[in-house]
Subunit: 419 residues, 2 copies
């Protein structure tokens, strides 16, 4: 009785029939990726792109990683990359950019759609914020600018440093809003407080700034005391829904992504009841899209639970229109976020190479992929960055032109008569 | 047998009981107008505003005009004014502005809503256009600028002349689009052709410009021949739906108001199939609102049949998003349209005073009210003017900043890399 059995010292992947299967899967993946100039590799097998040299190689450490990618590319790619079961040899951003450009954005998973309508109760919002923003200020200090701005910068020219561009962003926002000394500002979602402090220091306004992250608020209060601004800036550890202030200016930079679509109407109500109907104006700065789509599933699962990047139409329709807040100006800063992310990633990689990003390898690779993938998303147009400037429809003064934004001085003038 | 009958030579309005009724109606009107500083008068009766001096007096020539205003203010006021049965003594624009500010914008008539979804077939569009734009070029020459631009101007400063501001508007549009010599432009709804000719002359582009108005196209072709631009600008007497060109730039100034909401998706498809996916960009300039509302009923009936001023959200949602065209920049020029209309009205009144506006008194009063009412609408925020700049989401070059728009040179650069 002769039964053919593999020699006990040969691993499964060495069996030719499985190698055939691997080849099949690799070619299947290559077919899905169409013209993307990527090479795919597993063991000693490689599949080259249909034309031209590859910008990078996707190397699979095992068949499971390859299979996973074919079954559920969004989540499985991220997890397999984080676990080191997929390696990208070559330029990670360029590889992701090619993938994003090539892959048809299929229909979104209906469950993912449903989830975007999930209610963001204050406790859930707090949990979501805690997941991301309370990773420890030390961690963010490694790769953000010195003032810890964790939102898109504004590079007056691409050569500016990240530090300069973050200050330029704050000034761009303040000058769009035409802040006048003595005015009152409410900021919803203030991060580590840089903008609130900048507004008080450089524009002479009084600010109440809201944030759900305990670590960030502690940091911001400490800084505000050190800089002698505590009498003009109040940091409130609370939800934006708790805002009851009356103000001249409402500003929110990088919070809308976490508000949840079901709460857009409520955000609009909060803005509307805060703003002075005659002199009031506001600005929303947020990651958006060209149309409604759930955010990448892996990002939602591993990085930003509950996050959603809205289409401009959704913000117009749900936040502003029901409250008769009218858009005065919209600027799309997409290329600026790509460049901001490149700066962050370079600093992050430097810190990682120097062993300063603690935690385990999986964490380090997760954040590498998140930063690289975000940069690729802004480069390809999967994500956009909108700044929307608005005012109550019947308010009196609308800026005459935007010229003052690009000239010395305090920026737009909101006090001119309407004609 | 003594029956009390009024003496046959006394008219009805002299009968005290009817005078009592008139007083009742006048007070009813005054109550509806709340705090608006207006005086109401019929015969020898007057009702003063609750506080302060009136900015104007609404004088009713007969009871029917007053009753009509109470029953159906939008349409009846316009018609009664046109027929001279209501006279506004004092500043007409200020009076209308006060009325717009005071009157709660009630729920829109459901029928009016339905009508905004009416299909704009090409023949209907042609009829609508004919109603307004084929009143005779001579008529428009009386009160538009010398190049006959019948859309919102852009006043670099409020002191500019209308002529200067219309040239500045054309340059503002061209510079937002960053026109480069040799590029191809499609213009949908070109009026008397001023923008198309300006683009070809000052920016060296080739233009195909579409319009449904026979009189306007004849005028534009004639001008183009006289100015030696006929080889670079082609005026096409056709509907925007007939556009089959491929182009670098799609521009439409003041046409969207006439497209009809049901055709927004189709307009989006036309834009999308026209634009080069890599280099393409476009601009829509249109009268809009802070939220969806049918246009004033009298304007729809007497001035612009089929017209609709959309909310920004509607244009985003129906024209741009389905085609993955993403907004790069939005500017609200509301105060500029108020000032444009003031210039038009002053010229119009001068021409009317000199007996140069032919036709009958009803026509002259209709147009006076239309121009004054439009100015008041832009002053109060009932109407807005949006310029929306957009590009295919995946196009390569997005302008880095808007600074170039406010500096010498050709305007925004669309060829820079995304980061």
């Amino acid at each position: 009785m002769a039964t053919a059995r593999p020699a006990p010292d040969r691993s499964l992947t060495d069996v030719p029939v499985l190698e055939k299967l691997d080849g099949l899967l690799l070619r299947q993946l290559a077919a899905r990726m169409g013209a993307a100039p990527l090479r795919y590799a597993l063991g000693r097998l490689t599949v080259d792109p249909p034309a031209g040299p590859p910008v990078a190689t996707l190397r699979f450490q095992d068949r499971r990683a390859l299979l996973g990618l074919l079954l559920d590319p969004e989540v499985r790619f991220g997890d397999a990359y984080a676990e080191g079961r997929i390696e990208v040899e070559g330029d990670l951003v360029a590889a992701l950019e090619q993938a994003y450009r090539t892959l048809p954005e299929g229909r979104a998973n209906p469950l993912a759609w449903l989830r975007t309508f999930r209610r963001h109760s204050p406790p859930r919002s707090r949990a979501n914020v805690h997941h991301h923003y309370d990773l420890g200020n030390d961690f963010y200090t490694l790769w953000l600018d010195e003032q810890l701005l964790y939102t898109c910068a504004y590079f007056e020219s691409p050569e500016q440093s990240l530090e300069q561009a973050q200050v330029a962003k704050m000034d761009h926002v303040c000058r769009k809003l035409g802040l006048q000394p003595g005015e009152t500002v409410v900021e919803a979602g203030c991060g580590w407080g840089a903008l609130a402090l900048h507004m008080a220091r450089a524009y002479g306004v009084r600010v109440r700034a809201y944030n759900l992250s305990r670590e960030q608020v502690a940091w911001a209060r400490d800084r505000s005391r050190r800089e002698g601004l505590a009498d003009r800036v109040e940091f409130v550890l609370d939800d934006y829904r708790a805002i009851r202030d009356r103000c001249d200016v409402f500003v929110s930079v990088g919070m809308l992504e976490h508000v949840g679509r079901r709460s857009y109407r409520e955000l609009g109500r909060v803005i509307s009841r805060s703003l002075d109907p005659e002199r009031g104006r506001g600005l929303l700065h947020f990651i958006g899209r060209d149309r409604a789509r759930p955010l990448n599933a892996w990002i939602r699962r591993r990085i930003f639970p509950g996050a959603y990047a809205p289409a401009l139409a959704e913000v117009e329709r749900r936040v502003l229109w029901p409250e008769r807040l009218v858009t005065v100006d919209v600027e799309n800063l997409r290329p600026h976020y790509a460049l901001t992310l490149r700066h962050w990633r370079e600093r992050y990689e430097r810190a990682a190479a120097e062993g300063r990003v603690g935690r385990d390898e999986r964490f380090r690779r997760t954040w590498r992929l998140y930063l690289a993938g975000s940069e690729a998303s802004f480069r390809t147009g999967s994500l956009q960055l909108f700044q929307v400037l608005f005012a109550p429809t019947r308010s009196s003064g609308v800026p005459w032109t935007r010229r003052e934004l690009y000239a010395p001085g305090p920026g737009l003038s909101w006090n001119a008569p309407t004609s």
